[in-house]
Point group: D2
Chain length 134, copies 4
């Protein structure tokens, strides 16, 4: 599966916990930042989606495997692949590396829903086209 986007994040105190390592829930933030920045490269800002298409992306399933700890001041490289592109949902495979070490793998199923965040809707055609074209 080709990597379609790469994004870097830095680890700050806010990201760590008393175990001295990155707090486990925060990888979901990092993986989302990468997905958001990938959308931004296609001029698909989340706020625009709501305003123009009455649509939001919501994650319906998240799986993270934690392979190794990341720590304060580390720079994490996030790589994003598309596993499956459907009418209503997209499935992403995402890897977080610190240097050459794989620290976490994320799998995310993201669904397009109406702006109330409840009812699944087909992805706006313009959005799907841009995702396919990428």
């Amino acid at each position: 599966m080709p990597v379609v986007f790469t994004w870097k994040v830095r680890i700050y105190y806010e990201d760590t916990d008393a175990g001295g390592i990155v707090y486990y829930a925060n990888y979901l933030k990092f993986f989302e930042r990468a997905r958001t920045e990938w959308l931004r490269t296609m001029h698909l800002q989340q706020q625009d989606l709501i305003e123009s298409h009455n649509a939001m992306f919501v994650v319906t399933r998240a799986t993270v495997d934690y392979h190794a700890p990341a720590r304060l001041d580390d720079e994490i490289t996030l790589r994003l692949s598309i596993e499956k592109l459907g009418h209503v949902s997209v499935e992403f495979l995402q890897h977080a590396h610190c240097g050459d070490n794989l620290v976490a793998t994320g799998r995310f199923k993201v669904c397009c829903v109406d702006s109330a965040g409840v009812r699944p809707i087909a992805m706006p055609a313009a959005v799907a086209a841009r995702m396919r074209g990428h």
Copy 2:
């Protein structure tokens, strides 16, 4: 100044950082939980304020003095006093103790704004009355 409300929070990994202590921004969460629970005792839920009164409370000034660190598994007691009750805003003095030790002092100026979060509005009469009566 009388203490009008007391609330307890427990420190979890999510609240700490790699320094082994509670991350400094998280005290703003704890102090807000206490203010929210105090409002709840008066049947003033934040969501109801938006729906019934088209009003939200937003913090316009926050000051926190950090006296001592709190750590994983600590139980923090939050005490709340009202310093000043105006037409549009309220000023709170809040203390966070771990056992007998004062760990942090917070001062918060909270303003009533419209539901867009922008324009200051007078506190709904029912809200002000309940705050005064407390």
Copy 3:
């Protein structure tokens, strides 16, 4: 699978996002609070584990299915079951309900590691015994 522990959390502004719903990463915090409070009922505080046993629990795999949104002021009930209790790891099944509605299901594999957070170690006998006895 029997529910061995139940814990409630309240949704504050800190837990929500601009979609008007609970931010997806925050369920990992809630599920961890429940696991931590369950350990506490067995007098197994995280800080004690580090100090007495040179051991920490780290999550090695987290899966969350998001069934329905939770919102500001909601009270979430967290139920915890043990799917598998091994020598080095435990697997939890956790459900988050808002009233009668299932909002999220979590599956967590938690491993016992040394206090540096790196090397897997057998769970301290006292810890395993208490988990089994529960």
Copy 4:
């Protein structure tokens, strides 16, 4: 007071709340990111401070004035000035702008403490020298 450092952050869902705006505690994260990145330009990484100097910086007083809301997808520019450089502490004045709009002003007193996070110590000479030279 001269601006000694500028840093930009992007607003993601993780930073916002159900009011549709950036959650108030998160500005403390953003302002800290800017201070950390400024230290990094002087080759003063937080982890190195702990390891080489047995020293940490902790915030002893934080004040934030919230002037206007920031929202999803906004890019925030953070500007940092030094108000006072003492032996044990530094006082920072920090501004957060969204485009030309001032959204928040922060004042932070940061103290140098031992690696246990408790006892104030004089800033390591190398650190103070680099701060003065900047």
